[in-house]
């Protein structure tokens, strides 16, 4: 049996790349001949092939094709149509274009074209629609995918590498100066809710006379400069310039230090298909305060404090409660660690992945 994994862009560091590489490794471990087909690959050691050669390799009736769908890719849809084996659509979700309106026309168009493909993909009649969350799977079902062929598998991740990494000592020293650290991890993009986050942090600073710091960890995209500028302006408007630390493109050591030294992980994203930083927080033991939108409630479960509202005072009061109440803090930490172990550890995900493919392997 042969297996093809389709992904438009393969990089070793992002969430989709981690999922692809883990699936490739697991299939290879059980003796399947696996190849990754993509438009471009960066930072990965494995050889990749162009999509045009996919059907020739794994288009037969006994083959397996897994399409990682996170942006529009008509060539992959066309290739899936021509395959006669077991076809899996692995859906990582596509950010609704409205989040990029007035920020980046390029992103808006790309998301638009990607989401326009959802219906096409959903109606391809693939054998399995595997969402990274139930929220993702439901989107495919609503777009026409048969419900009985829908399933959920949380994405494979690189949390263990962060947990095992040695924390960056200079950053750790800088962050452990007595200030309350609020942490946000995620690329600087409009759906991540940085503006609301700054509002919530500003509310805390105004309401409580305690030193506090907002640590924003994430890659800054020059194409989203308008959004980055808007965040900076909001910080300036609220007079928080001295209290905000940006870490653009953090290393694993810096990420570990940031999680360890932070008193709360605060997420006000408006749209997430899964949100890997939530499980990183669970694994390292940083208490979570989050906005209950999209897939966030599902990923978070009952291991953090979440609100449907974006009222900044609610988040400020939540942080204050976490800082003051060690019972709540410790209980949420323990729940987080247990949830990570039971739901998101790589061993659990591996077993579930192979169970999903049991009929074809």
């Amino acid at each position: 049996m042969k297996a093809a994994i389709l992904v438009p862009v393969l990089t070793s560091k992002d969430a989709v790349g981690a999922d692809v590489l883990a699936m490739q490794r697991i299939l290879q471990e059980i003796g399947v001949d696996v190849r990754v087909f993509c438009l471009s690959a960066t930072g990965v050691e494995c050889k990749t092939w162009p999509i045009e050669r996919m059907v020739e390799f794994a288009g037969g009736p006994n083959d397996l094709v897994i399409y990682h769908y996170s942006t529009g890719w008509p060539a992959a849809v066309d290739a899936l149509r021509r395959c006669r084996g077991y076809r899996v659509v692995r859906y990582h979700n596509i950010t609704p274009p409205i989040h990029f309106r007035n920020v980046s026309a390029d992103y808006e168009r790309a998301c638009e074209s990607g989401r326009r493909e959802i219906e096409t993909v959903a109606k391809l009649g693939c054998e399995l629609y595997l969402g990274a969350s139930a929220y993702n799977t439901e989107e495919l079902v609503q777009a026409g995918a048969p419900r009985e062929r829908g399933a959920v598998l949380s994405p494979f991740h690189r949390v263990a590498e962060i947990v095992d990494a040695e924390a960056d000592i200079p950053l750790l020293n800088e962050l452990t100066d007595g200030s309350r650290n609020f942490l946000m991890v995620g690329r600087v993009a409009p759906n991540k809710g940085h503006l609301d986050l700054v509002e919530a942090f500003g509310a805390y600073v105004r309401a409580y006379a305690e030193p506090a710091r907002l640590v924003i960890v994430g890659k800054i995209d020059p194409r989203l400069e308008r959004y980055t500028k808007a965040i900076e302006e909001r910080i300036e408007d609220l007079d928080l310039g001295e209290c905000v630390m940006w870490i653009n493109g953090a290393s694993e050591a810096q990420l570990k230090a940031a999680y360890l030294a932070s008193h709360a992980f605060m997420l006000l994203s408006e749209h997430e298909g899964f949100c890997v930083p939530l499980i990183e927080s669970m694994a390292i033991g940083t208490p979570i305060i989050a906005r209950a939108t999209s897939a966030i409630p599902e990923t978070l479960g009952d291991v953090g404090i979440s609100w449907e509202s974006q009222d900044p005072w609610l988040y400020a009061a939540s942080a204050a409660r976490l800082f003051a109440d060690s019972d709540v803090r410790n209980n949420l930490r323990e729940r987080g660690r247990a949830r990570f172990h039971n739901e998101y550890s790589v061993d659990v995900l591996r077993t579930r992945f192979l169970a999903q493919l049991e009929g074809v392997l």
Binding site: R206, A207, R321
Partner: protein, 458 residues
């Protein structure tokens, strides 16, 4: 969950947080209002997927952006190079946007795309009419005349816009100019600092070169000094060697002279003893008495060792039927004994006794016991005698003259005060039995004893 912290009711905690948030909202200082920011032109929609556009929407952009947008909106594709250039030229030559939109919309491709642009057709027809010779001129003149108030308003607005833009550009230019001035000043400062750095680097290089030259000179001086010291040291070693060789030769000469002195003294002492023995007329009967007594206690085949008693004693033993070998510390005495036919070696008696195995002898004699005691303490001598004699072996000790005693007397050293009584007691105390004092005719005494273990005579 296997929890080590108290279980919490999350819903209750959230209710409490909600109350706290309400209280915060009431008591915390109000959040500052968000400052208004200038709206950037590119915020305007660039929507190319719609099927209907207003003329105002299509004309909102200018120059290249207008042409690009018009193609994408009306033909649903990006402009090709030839079309793009042609329409830009039309704009540059004073053509209207309406004409370009009409050209696109009512081309064969545009009709296929069928995008709706309400009001475009009459305006496009009018624009085309302007192209008709003569009639077009008058038509455009009339239209222009009729719309003169509008054109004048547009002109005034345009003037205001351009003045505002000019003002903005002027302000930006002044800001740029002042920034450039600052950059030029910084550049001058930077150049000056670079000059200083170059000077410092140059000075450091000179210093380094001087240091290298100094080190080289130091190296040369050191090598010369070490070379001179090495030659001097070599001379000293050779001198020392010469001195040691001379010293060794002198010491050898001294040793040889001393050895010669000792040899002469030894010969002298041997000669004195010989003379004294010859002058002692009672010696031979005395030796005969003692040897006969010894022969009564030993078999003829008995192994007997004599310690420096003189060759006449060995001869007396022979005459009594016993055979003995002797050792004597005096080389001259041993030579005289060998010349007289006795088996005597030149050796130190104490060293010979130490090398003998346990029970190796049947008899042990020493007529000049006092001389032995000069080399070996009495306790050690008696213990060694016990050891080398087999059980039942016989010991005979006397206090006669021997060369070593002569040597001591000639050196002025006192003769130890030993006699037969003291020796007998010493032998008894050392475990010997059958202790017997034999008195010769001249009154001289020797003491004979036996080791325990056998009462049978040899």
């Amino acid at each position: 969950m296997n929890s080590t912290s108290p279980e919490i009711d999350l819903q209750r905690v959230k209710d409490e947080i909600r109350s706290e948030a309400e209280a915060l909202r009431a008591r915390a200082p109000a959040m500052p209002a968000v400052k208004p920011r200038p709206v950037v032109a590119s915020n305007r929609a660039y929507d190319t997927s719609a099927s209907e556009y207003s003329i105002a929407n299509l004309c909102q952009f200018h120059f290249t952006t207008f042409v690009d947008y018009a193609y994408r909106a009306v033909l649903k594709r990006p402009p090709d190079a030839a079309g793009f250039d042609g329409h830009l030229k039309l704009l540059v030559s004073g053509g209207s946007k309406i004409e370009i939109l009409g050209n696109l919309r009512y081309s064969a491709e545009g009709r296929r795309a069928a995008v709706r642009v309400p009001g475009l057709l009459p305006r496009y027809a009018l624009a085309k009419l302007y192209r008709v010779p003569l009639i077009g001129y008058f038509a455009e003149w009339l239209t222009g005349f009729a719309s003169l108030p509008g054109i004048m308003r547009h002109q005034r607005a345009s003037d205001t816009f351009h003045v505002a833009r000019s003002y903005e550009i002027d302000t930006a230019r002044r800001e740029t100019s002042s920034q450039m001035d600052a950059v030029v000043r910084d550049n001058l400062v930077l150049r000056k600092e670079i000059g200083n750095v170059v000077d410092r680097v140059s000075a450091m290089r000179s210093g380094l070169e001087r240091a290298v030259a100094t080190l080289a000179e130091v190296d040369r001086v050191d090598i010369r000094r070490v070379s001179a010291e090495s030659a001097e040291l070599r001379h000293l070693v050779l001198s020392m060697n010469h001195w040691l060789t001379t010293l060794r030769q002198n010491l050898g000469a001294l040793e040889r002279a001393e050895h010669e002195d000792a040899r002469r003294a030894d010969a002298l002492h041997a000669e004195i003893v010989e003379r004294m023995w010859r002058d002692d007329s009672a010696r031979l009967p005395r030796l005969a008495t003692w040897s006969a007594a010894l022969a009564r206690g030993l078999q003829p085949s008995a192994q007997i060792l004599d310690l420096a008693s003189g060759h006449d004693w060995l001869a007396a033993l022979g005459r009594s039927g016993l055979h003995a070998t002797g050792v004597d510390p005096s080389e001259a005495t041993a030579e005289r004994a060998r010349a007289a036919g006795s088996a005597v070696s030149a050796a130190e008696p104490s060293a010979v006794l130490a090398r003998l195995a346990d029970g190796a002898l049947d008899g042990l004699t020493a007529l000049a016991s006092t001389a032995l005691l000069q080399e070996l303490p009495a306790s050690q001598l008696l213990a060694t005698a016990r050891r080398v004699l087999r059980p039942g072996g016989v010991l005979l000790f006397a206090f006669d003259i021997a060369p070593s005693l002569i040597r001591d007397r000639m050196a002025g050293r006192a003769e130890p005060l030993w006699n037969d009584v003291l020796l007998a007691h010493a032998l008894a105390a050392s475990g010997f039995i059958d202790i017997e004092t034999l008195t010769a005719a001249d009154g001289a005494r020797c003491v004979m004893a036996r080791t325990p273990g056998s009462t049978e005579k040899q």
